[in-house]
Symmetry: C2
């Protein structure tokens, strides 16, 4: 049987069956990063993620610097999602022989600049031929550290906690659509803003560290939105053993996204709920901590924080609450990284 009969999450579950999974306070796998205890000092965080030409990016749509920048950003975002500090990167490249040295230099310049911005040392790597395949692959392992007791896992949310996100949602998916479809009446600036949210997302490293430093009694669970809000909230609820209610009217949407949605006659909330690769942080907090958390994030990072709903008992499931008061089930339309279009 071909693996095409399986989805990404099904395959991962099959391959990782029986491996140790972390729960609050414990060490293990199954979160945005592995959390490792070397015996003394801070805990170690380790994550790896790859970008494949034709799957995650296209040389025609992304400046080569952005390709390198994003390849590191998606890993930085995983460290951010645990409240950690990025430290060391290992870069593995699969290089098709036709690749121009200028493109490779550009990718590496993007990688180095991104690493420098986040005080991350490139300490190793590997290059291999693709052996005739035309596709460039950038596979990065990023190591970080987090103070004991400061790591935020997916598993700590409780009924009554508020559900929050940083920034705005759906911009990356909207930016991707502007590569795939022709827009009319959209300003070049809106196009650039949304496309850069797709090709050069900003990892919320500082915000993650601020949230981690507040401690688990205030911020209870966190992950980054790489698969889309509906999919990643499902992950959080599964790991925390809870339900959730999302208030549709509260979901933060950017002005450029609303204008592009109008131009493409697409529901902007579809991108915000189910679009992938926002790399915003999705987290839960005790209601009493809201003011402190909001002022910590907004004053120290300048990034908006929005309450979009509330964690519910597990029996409530995942629901979407409309402004008129009616609710409907929220089904994950998760970004399947094995099967999604590239620009």
């Amino acid at each position: 049987m071909d693996i095409s009969a399986f989805g990404e999450f099904e395959l991962v579950a099959r391959l990782t069956a029986g491996l140790a999974v972390s729960t609050a306070g414990d060490i293990g796998v199954g979160d945005d990063c592995a959390l490792l205890d070397l015996g003394r000092g801070d805990l170690l965080l380790a994550t790896c993620d790859s970008q494949v030409e034709g799957v995650h990016f296209s040389l025609g749509s992304s400046p080569s610097e952005h390709i390198g920048r994003k390849a590191l950003a998606i890993n930085l975002s995983d460290i951010a999602a645990m409240g950690g500090t990025p430290r060391y990167a290992l870069i593995s490249l699969l290089l098709p022989s036709h690749l121009s040295i200028e493109v490779l230099d550009g990718i590496y310049a993007g990688l180095r600049a991104q690493a420098q911005r986040f005080d991350t040392a490139i300490v190793g790597g590997n290059i291999s031929s693709t052996g005739g395949s035309p596709q460039l692959v950038i596979d990065i392992t990023l190591l970080g550290t987090v103070e004991r007791g400061h790591a935020l896992l997916r598993s700590g949310a409780h009924a009554g906690d508020l559900i929050c996100v940083t920034g705005s949602l759906g911009d990356s998916a909207a930016g991707l659509q502007t590569f795939l479809h022709t827009t009319t009446d959209v300003s070049p600036q809106d196009l650039q803003t949304l496309r850069e949210r797709h090709t050069a997302p900003e990892p919320r490293v500082r915000e993650g560290q601020l949230l981690g430093a507040l401690g688990g009694g205030k911020v209870t669970a966190m992950l980054d939105i790489s698969d889309g809000l509906s999919g990643d909230l499902t992950h959080l609820c599964e790991r925390s053993g809870c339900g959730a209610r999302v208030d549709l009217a509260a979901i933060p949407l950017s002005a450029p996204l609303l204008r592009v949605a109008r131009s493409l006659q697409h529901d902007p909330l579809d991108w915000a709920l189910h679009g992938g690769e926002d790399y915003e942080l999705l987290f839960t907090l005790r209601p009493s901590a809201l003011d402190e958390v909001r002022s910590a994030i907004q004053q120290q990072s300048g990034t908006p924080l929005t309450v979009i709903g509330e964690i519910q008992p597990p029996t409530a499931g995942l629901t979407l609450s409309h402004p008129d008061g009616h609710t409907e089930p929220l089904h994950p339309h998760s970004w399947d990284h094995l099967n999604h279009p590239s620009p």
Copy 2:
């Protein structure tokens, strides 16, 4: 200009220009693993290496368990080459959609069994679609630890040190050739022995730890032979700032290799000097430490240790010494991982 105009080492040098390189006792990159200091406790070792279908392996020649086993072995060998202890692995897979689930399960079974043998926890990973490309890729990052002062680098060799290797050389290259050419008068057992040296090499983890524990005053430099003896000895000499003399008659050759060389009418020393992927350890030691090192290795691991030459002053360059006393320059014919055949 295409990258095909560049060799592997040239590209690596271009991409890593300006990054911190470790020298004896210091922390940095440029050795078999990056050596990282998290501030307390043991030092961290990090390495990554990938196996690409059609470049490093073929599904037709290798049992799928061997593919997984080797993918981890080549990384375990890098930890071994620093005298370290493997701890954590992150597995990144690029999966073509036509891949059968049985092959994937087999590869993962090989990975897990190998990890278990070497007390290594699989703590993370990632799967991506190849987006239409037919090639399976296994990219692994392996983390290990090494006690402060016990890491063996490439840079510590001095004139007068003895040059040693574990095991026998050239078997992997000979095994590869038996997939590419028809042999006559070779026993099935010889074929299997050499092919398994190619498809399922044994990382010298225990031997590396024993050598690391002896300390830098006895064992002065080490790396693993992945590029071939001539290429890897060149790396060691470049990093140590020295020359070397290899005694041709001393190079350890296995009996199956000699029989296959006769069958294929190939010079067995060519495989031993320039064949890649032996994953034996190449190290240097003070002559006064030879007896202690030999008994430590041979008694505790059972692996043979052979003295194959002597480190020379830098002006001597790299030479090959024949039994009749004449010498010739030894040029590296390094295994270029960007351009070599797969079975």
